[in-house]
Symmetry: C2
């Protein structure tokens, strides 16, 4: 058997702790799989007391950077989190030393992944981040290796379990957004400040990483148009249901004639699609590509054990000596992705609005749509909602055929100016298979 | 750039032809990904005329074995099919020469995988067969690498698109088995002799491969209990629907206290499960394991392009120098899986039968179940079927709680002998998440 693989682990929280337990529990099998014993021989944490069982023999550092710089280790595993600070400092030092870096840190990879990959390349090290996207789902390996022969057209995914939990609960229990968010917070699925999750920013970090792997473009998190789920109402969910859709917060990266579109927004997904059937805290990613057609992976997007599963897989690859380029291709082969502004997005739209309850108001609105070349696929006008009617407005929901974001926004602006529509209409993009 | 990877391709049919086109179409990107140019430099086929565009410069052999033995190649790709014959002969010769072998041949791997892996190991070659299971779905890589840190509890999958197409059509169109089979044959989804598919044997081949990877046991296709879908009726599908299930032909390999169970049979799957939602010719595999929890992959299980995608991924791994052991662990580390006879299977059962339409007959039957310790979870007795009632029998459907295969079979034998049940009841196993 080859010499052991000595792991230096920075961070012994939920993910780090689960990893230590996994490596102990599976030690024999991992040695059989990789031909090497894999052991955590050094750790960093704020204090020795944080380290759980199994780390008694490990060298201790109270600083990730010191562990990376001085640890007698073969691989540096970063499980601290945060785009900068000790995680980033440790990562840079480890790669500069030529140590392979394994991380579960989506924020750091989204912000600094390109620079870290370049540093890895320059120092003959490797950079692995399976756990950064989709938790335990091996989506990075799938894009980088499993679908290596494919020209990817689109990657779309439910990448944030908190949002999916809230939307699933709203739909199944008929509870409004705020109640479901409070429930998610109580269950530990959402942070006290939930903005990062429900605002779509966590999804955007992960999407930026997937887009780079899928399309061979440089990571560009700032290129992503981001909308969260805060504005989704029970009325939207009910209308979606009636029209054969579910509403999911998707991250979508898509190659178009104009460049690579990257967007995060609540999305109407046909109920027959695997993404629509993914409920609760689960994550799912669908990859559409020329050879494979369509592939969907569904699994746990978070949690210590699932994330540790992904980290362990990266460690095993390193133990076997398998080090694919971090983003599938060498840094020099990555292209500058052409940013496509959201205004140029083409697709179908769901629009829900309050229309003035008088003859001809829908006609005025329809005319504005027609002027912008927008064809309607479906229109639902319900008079059953008496309170709405009594207020002088009736709810109207419509589904457009493919049009551009700019066209739909202009048509709605004009309708507002015409005075036939009350307030800002709800607009949700439709994603078709 | 490293020296080119010279591919020798045996077989230029659906898969081989699609592979040639893929390697040409993606040549530049594959070179960026692997650091090497990948080119088919030699082929074998029955005649030169079979070779499509792009193979004009390739050396031609009319015998796979000759290509494997004499070809000036770095990797031997077998796309002929069949467990023995030229595919097997070529594979053996290539591995004996120390050439990496890539194959899409599930029949050959199910029959000779262990021997070929040993041959590979002895000659410092590699054996790759991503395309042998689940077509384009990277399930081999996922089990071998992506979930390397997991203790797998169960692998269950829809592994035959023909069966899934037929069951999906029966359900959606209300057409009987024979009509849907004829339709599948017309569309080219089923062979003229469909026994291999609908009898469950194709699924069994694939399951044997997955079980070896999942549990580190030697491939043992003969250990698999196999039942096909021929006996499934519209009455079963209707009852399943009412009870919240769909019927799928699953291959299931499961680690139990008694050993590794391997079975292929029509299965009741709760509609909320991803496997139940997989319709048409799609394949899907769910892997339950300690760290990941549950992971499902859904995609195309057949077709030239999807299969070529998997073959290309294997070739890319070889080009990058990544050669994991064929079954995840070295041959010496694979265990003899303890065979578990189907009679010892434990689980819930669906039973549909015709019960004599007279007072007490259900009680007689229920007594027999009770004697064998079988608890019922649900019972449906419908008198709406007038023709059945007029015949003196009424259809009864019941769902049992967990029991053993032996118990349920005995209870049904006794009920038949009691004369309260007509003919052999329909028995379908229930798979719970």
């Amino acid at each position: 058997m080859a010499k052991p693989l000595r792991v230096g682990l920075a961070g012994v929280g939920t993910v780090g702790g689960a990893l230590v337990r996994l490596l102990q529990r599976r030690r024999e099998d991992l040695a059989a799989r990789t031909g090497r014993d894999i052991a955590v021989v050094a750790v960093s944490a704020l204090s020795r007391g944080e380290c759980g069982p199994g780390l008694e023999q490990a060298a201790f550092y109270n600083d990730a950077k010191a562990l990376a710089a001085e640890g007698d280790i073969d691989v540096f595993v970063e499980a601290i989190g945060g785009s900068d600070g000790p995680a980033y400092a440790g990562a840079r030092v480890a790669l500069s030393r030529g140590l392979p870096l394994v991380t579960s840190n989506k924020a750091m990879i989204a912000a600094h992944g390109l620079e870290l990959a370049a540093l890895a390349e320059a120092n003959g090290a490797s950079l692995s981040f399976e756990a950064a996207v989709g938790g335990g789902i091996p989506v990075i390996k799938t894009l980088r290796e499993g679908l290596a022969g494919n020209d990817v057209r689109r990657v779309s995914g439910i990448l944030n379990g908190t949002c999916n939990y809230i939307l699933s609960r709203m739909e199944s229990e008929g509870l409004p957004f705020d109640a479901c968010l409070a429930e998610a917070q109580k269950l530990g699925y959402a942070e006290a400040d939930p903005t990062f999750d429900i605002g779509g920013f966590d999804t955007a970090h992960k999407l930026a990483i997937l887009a780079s792997l899928a399309f061979g473009v440089k990571i560009d998190a700032d290129a992503i148009s981001v909308e969260g789920i805060q504005s989704i109402t029970l009325a939207d969910l009910a209308a979606a249901d009636e029209l054969g859709y579910r509403i999911k917060l998707l991250g979508v990266a898509e190659r178009t004639a104009k460049g690579v579109e990257q967007r995060v927004h609540p999305t109407m997904v046909a109920k027959s699609e695997p993404l629509a059937q993914t409920m609760g805290v689960l994550n799912a990613v669908t990859i559409d590509a020329d050879a494979i057609g369509s592939l969907t992976l569904v699994g746990p997007g978070a949690g210590g054990d699932a994330t540790a599963s992904a980290v362990a897989a990266d460690i095993c690859d390193i133990a076997r000596g398998d080090v694919a380029p971090a983003f599938g291709r060498p840094i020099g082969a990555l292209e500058d992705g052409e940013r496509v502004p959201m205004q140029r997005h083409e697709g179908g739209y769901y629009v829900r609005m309050s229309v003035v309850d008088r003859p001809g108001s829908v006609a005025v609105f329809a005319k504005r749509m027609g002027e912008r070349g927008i064809s309607l696929e479906a229109i639902m006008q319900k008079r059953s909602d008496m309170s709405a009617s009594a207020s002088g407005f009736v709810p109207v929901v419509l589904i457009t055929k493919a049009t551009t974001e700019a066209s739909i926004r202009e048509a709605l602006e004009l309708a507002l100016a015409d005075g036939v529509v009350r307030e800002k209409p709800q607009v949700i993009r439709i994603e078709r298979a």
